[in-house]
């Protein structure tokens, strides 16, 4: 199959279907609407279900039920709706249920606006809901990568029995790019012997649960989850590097901001400035190991975000004081302009500090 033009939001839907997802529960919100529109048509074609819930609170709990029953299931929303889902996401993490949650981030806080933003980074990577837990968070930067990462999202969710969040924004959702969907793959979805499907002569009952009333037991559960997160943190860090070899200044940016920074790296190259880019693909686990290595050779870092400075905390933790870490951000639905980021890079390289 050749390349075809697809909108990012539709690519999420098609990527999910090709990853074997057959259940979608969601509530309308901008800027992710094309995704439910697409799946409302597409799911019935493949024998799946698109169900519009009465709220995001209901959506995420429908996901809880469907995931517990062993299905590949997803929901999608944007900032305010994701906030409403947080209790349910905590329950999903606590009960170790695999599912995929899409957040097409918009400007906040509060009702904010419907323009692209990256201001939900803390919420996504620090847990978001109550209790000690982590989501695996993936951040695509192109429509093709959306398709590829949807497959990975469902696979990672099943592999670790953990909710996975795909973080995009209005730009990625709305823009059209050529994608190669590839051949439909034979899926290998792991057996879910833990799923509560009715006992069907099974010797032991299966229970989908996050309640551990005895503190000793709840501690054991938390430690077990912690061991799982350690495993994910060491084995699943993903990133892309661009012009980092010999770079004195390394920009760190993901998603839409990373696309801008790639153009900045090219501008710098043309001007003979040694500037590279590291683009985290997993926001959690954050690719700190590689950034720490790069801190041995690079002279400084610049975190470029569509927020007031959230990921920059992770960059600082990774650099661990070895080199200066700077920040440049646009907020409220504004996208950094390549020329402005370039000026900031020039300022830093000339020894300027803010």
């Amino acid at each position: 199959m050749g390349k075809m033009l697809m909108k990012g939001n539709e690519a999420i839907g098609e990527g999910a279907v090709r990853a074997g997802c057959r259940y979608f529960f969601g509530y309308p919100i901008t800027p992710q609407s094309e995704l439910p529109h697409y799946l409302a048509k597409r799911m019935p074609e493949v024998g799946g279900l698109y169900l519009q819930a009465e709220s995001e609170v209901a959506s995420i709990n429908m996901v809880f039920g469907a995931a517990g029953a062993g299905a590949r299931v997803m929901t999608s929303s944007s900032g305010p709706g994701i906030s409403l889902m947080q209790e349910g996401i905590s329950y999903l993490a606590g009960a170790e249920l695999p599912c995929v949650i899409v957040n097409m981030v918009r400007g906040g806080p509060g009702l904010g606006n419907i323009a692209p933003a990256q201001s939900d980074y803390f919420q996504a990577t620090r847990g978001g809901g109550h209790g000690d837990y982590h989501l695996i968070v993936l951040a695509p930067a192109s429509v093709q990568e959306i398709v590829d990462l949807m497959q990975d999202s469902f696979d990672l969710a099943d592999k670790y029995r953990n909710p996975v969040m795909l973080m995009g924004d209005g730009v990625l959702g709305q823009m059209m790019e050529p994608v190669d969907l590839g051949e439909e793959k034979i899926l290998s979805i792991p057996e879910k012997s833990w799923a509560a499907t009715g006992r069907m002569k099974r010797e032991k009952k299966n229970l989908i649960n996050s309640l551990y009333i005895v503190p000793e037991n709840c501690e054991v559960h938390n430690i077990k989850l912690g061991e799982k997160y350690k495993l994910i943190a060491s084995g699943e860090q993903r990133w892309e590097e661009y012009r980092t070899e010999g770079a004195e200044l390394i920009m760190v940016a993901y998603g839409t901001a990373a696309r801008v920074c790639k153009a900045v790296a090219d501008l710098c190259k043309a001007e003979g400035m040694p500037v590279g880019l590291i683009r985290p693909i997993t926001l959690w686990p954050f690719p700190g190991r590689r950034i720490s290595e790069l801190a041995e050779t690079a002279k400084s870092f610049l975190s470029v975000e569509m927020s007031m400075g959230q990921m920059v905390d992770d960059v600082r933790l990774s650099v661990n004081g070895k080199k200066p870490v700077h920040f440049y951000g646009r907020v409220g639905g504004m996208i950094p302009a390549a020329r402005d980021v370039f000026n900031e890079v020039q300022f830093i390289l000339s020894g300027g500090a803010r």
Binding site: E54, A58, F64
Partner: protein, 248 residues
């Protein structure tokens, strides 16, 4: 000697954690008896709420889920849509179903979700210490209505069965009571009918069970049953609010 009574097989052999005189244990037994009699144990799935009956997943021996507060109908929706051949029931109290989970129960009924809801109405939040529930009667003293529920401040108690029965998706809605053996027998019939309606694919089914809470009502178990009869039933009339002309 002929054995005339035993623990239903769908119920585990373990002590309940419920207070003396609480009727949760009876309702658990009725549900388990119905699962046994309909021979659906192997495809039965229980969804537990947050509240006194949060541990009902320990007592029912079938597969089970523990849902967040009020969201059991959404969880049950997810389960039943994935496993249409299963027999799913939620077990929820009045705070869970009629306050925090009002949206979920209404929309599950409106969609005609094919699962059964066992709704325990004891007019109080029991697990958290006897606070006012949406179903608390006017004048009823609770820890958060120490002078009695006042409609000027707290509004009037919510009649869920009446509300849900106007929805097209609701196929069977019935209110029963635990206050004496004759009514316990009627309750079992209603629960069985609700499961049969679900299995026939006729739509949403709910049985509201008027139950006692001697601990938080500050009454002896016997007086608490009297209180159901004398105070609750006049406000919450018993009977079928909606039923299919026949269960297919």
């Amino acid at each position: 000697m002929k054995k005339i009574f035993s623990r239903p097989e769908s119920l585990k052999d373990m002590p309940f954690h419920y207070c003396p005189g609480c009727t949760h244990g009876i309702v658990h037994r009725l549900v388990a008896e119905v699962i046994d009699e309909l021979d659906v144990f192997d495809r039965a799935i229980a969804v537990a709420p947050v509240g006194c009956s949060v541990f009902c997943y320990e007592y029912f021996d079938c597969d089970a889920y523990q849902a967040s507060h009020g969201r059991a109908p959404a969880v049950a929706t997810g389960i039943k849509r994935v496993l249409p051949g299963s027999v799913v029931f939620t077990y929820q109290g009045d705070g869970d179903l009629a306050a925090i989970g009002t949206a979920e129960i209404i929309h599950a009924a409106a969609r005609g979700e094919k699962f059964t809801v066992i709704f325990i109405n004891n007019a109080i939040y029991a697990m958290t210490g006897g606070q006012m529930a949406p179903t608390t009667l006017l004048g009823q003293k609770t820890t958060t209505t120490p002078f009695g529920r006042d409609s000027e401040i707290n509004g009037s108690p919510v009649k869920m069965s009446e509300m849900l029965s106007v929805l097209d998706g609701a196929a069977y809605i019935s209110r029963v009571s635990m206050h004496n053996p004759a009514n316990v027998a009627k309750a079992k019939k209603a629960i069985k009918k609700a499961f049969e309606v679900q299995m026939a694919g006729q739509g949403f089914s709910m049985v509201e069970v008027l139950s006692s809470c001697p601990t938080n009502w500050g009454l002896s178990p016997v007086k608490a049953l009297k209180w159901i009869e004398e105070k609750m039933i006049p406000y919450y009339p018993l009977g079928e609010f909606k039923a299919p002309s026949e269960v297919v």
